[in-house]
Symmetry: C2
């Protein structure tokens, strides 16, 4: 199986699992439609893939990590729904489609996000095939990454930073919280599912932290030089909202170099610890070159 | 110790625990201020008290249930913050003070709610003194009660029902989800912390479900005949938003009788199973007579 095929297989696992998550729920006005509209909107599924492949690399059974992987995707999806709200980034378009509140209204969008966040923890708690100790570690890991010390904290800094200049250190902290924490948690959850050692989890975290940073810098670059049709959203939004980005601070060329540097560091973190980090090293290289 | 003193002692435990929860967090713009503004706004703490006393009644150590009790209060608080938002109930006043978004703005209020919901699960996962199996059961119980099949589902029905008439069955379902599920979860979490039996948990659930119903009917009555200064919020809001309530369906007198009936059923559910349900029976009677 090539890495491309392995990625496709992982994504298929994730899509199928997510499709079953709320399938048995009765109509509750538009709530489930709104939740599934965003959850099944064809994201790249990078976070769940990181969870599955980190689990495999740590010697675990990929299927056992699937509920944890999908829980991370629920958290990611809820964050997109809330970030797009009029009182936040006020975005109309996401992944080429109208944002959640544009279709279902603001109240339902807020509640769909709340329900997805809650469902993430419920999904971990209800996962079979892993003992309670590992699942509880997974709840703690995801909670820390998603909350005030992680993703939500980053979003608060992001909102507070709009319209005035930030330093490089401030942008790094903001992005480390806003996107880095959840990407790291995804990879760590795979390690937790596999019962990985402290050393293994630390290596996975180093990899994911650097990958997350490279990913975000690439995101900032695509907001300037990307193709709107490919991205599924308008470019130039950072400039319009006067956000300080890696590109606005360091320029495009330095960012290109930084993305390559962080990607190499990410791969080295795995090579030092694992016998077969092949897929996750390949994935890091793929993400450097992505156009969306 | 009288029941009044026991209630005060429980509330003091809860207040002290909640005060320490985010005390070590560095400033993250207004996020922690916004979270604590609502969390420490002097609510009645009924849910955490139910958790603590249900734990005691089931033979457990009250202190071991404290993180679980406070996790429920975090979920309750987040739900109030989000419910008050302009796109939801659009309320300006809560517990005699301006609502969260009136003080901190809509974006921070949404994020403070998100962070409190996340912190609830993190708090359970990080609780010492209980084994992983019980804590994981607590995560599952709280997740089910808070999410789309519980509180969020009830809020969706509440929004959808505004401006047109609902049947008694519809109002009962709505309230059972919107307020009943979390009240029941609070009591069940205490039983879980104590390692209570299936039979004990079922009895606790029966009690809490009936208590929650009586509580909500009393709430509807107070929205008509209550005192604004005592309640800390304007009365008549249900009528203004054309909400169908127990009072609008059955009249004030029938509601009085119903509250008494449900309270008796609640107490009987405990008396059938527990040797010493004294405090929780007393609490049920207290809630019937409450003026706020």
């Amino acid at each position: 199986m090539t890495y491309e095929q392995q990625l496709s297989a992982d994504c298929a696992l994730v899509e199928n699992y997510l499709k079953t998550c709320f399938a048995d729920r009765e109509p509750r006005a538009d709530l489930y439609d709104a939740m599934l509209y965003s959850l099944l909107a064809g994201g790249k599924r990078i976070r769940p893939v990181l969870a599955l492949e980190s689990c495999r690399m740590c010697g675990g059974d990929v299927e056992s990590a699937l509920p944890l992987a999908c829980a991370v995707e629920m958290v990611h999806t809820y964050s997109l729904i809330h970030d797009d709200l009029p009182c936040m980034d006020d975005d109309d378009l996401r992944r080429g489609r109208p944002t959640n509140h544009k279709v279902y209204g603001e109240a339902t969008a807020v509640l769909a996000g709340d329900a997805l966040l809650t469902a993430a923890f419920e999904t971990i708690a209800g996962a079979g095939g892993l003992d309670a100790g590992r699942l509880l570690s997974a709840v703690a890991c995801l909670g820390a990454a998603a909350g005030s010390r992680g993703m939500v904290g980053g979003q608060v800094l992001d909102m507070a930073g709009e319209g005035h200049a930030l330093s490089l250190a401030e942008v790094e902290e903001l992005q480390s919280l806003k996107t880095g924490a959840l990407i790291s948690a995804a990879a760590e959850l795979g390690c937790i599912a596999a019962g990985g050692s402290v050393k293994e989890r630390a290596a996975v975290r180093r990899y994911a932290r650097r990958l997350g940073l490279a990913f975000q810098i690439r995101d900032d670059m695509l907001d300037i030089q990307g193709d709107e049709a490919t991205l599924g959203k308008p470019i130039g939004s950072d400039a319009r909202s006067e956000k300080t980005t890696f590109v606005s601070l360091k320029g495009m060329e330095a960012c290109e170099a930084l993305v390559r540097e962080k990607t190499e560091e990410a791969k080295n973190a795995l090579r030092e610890t694992f016998a077969d980090p092949g897929f996750l090293c390949w994935l890091a290289d793929e993400l450097v070159q992505r156009e969306k």
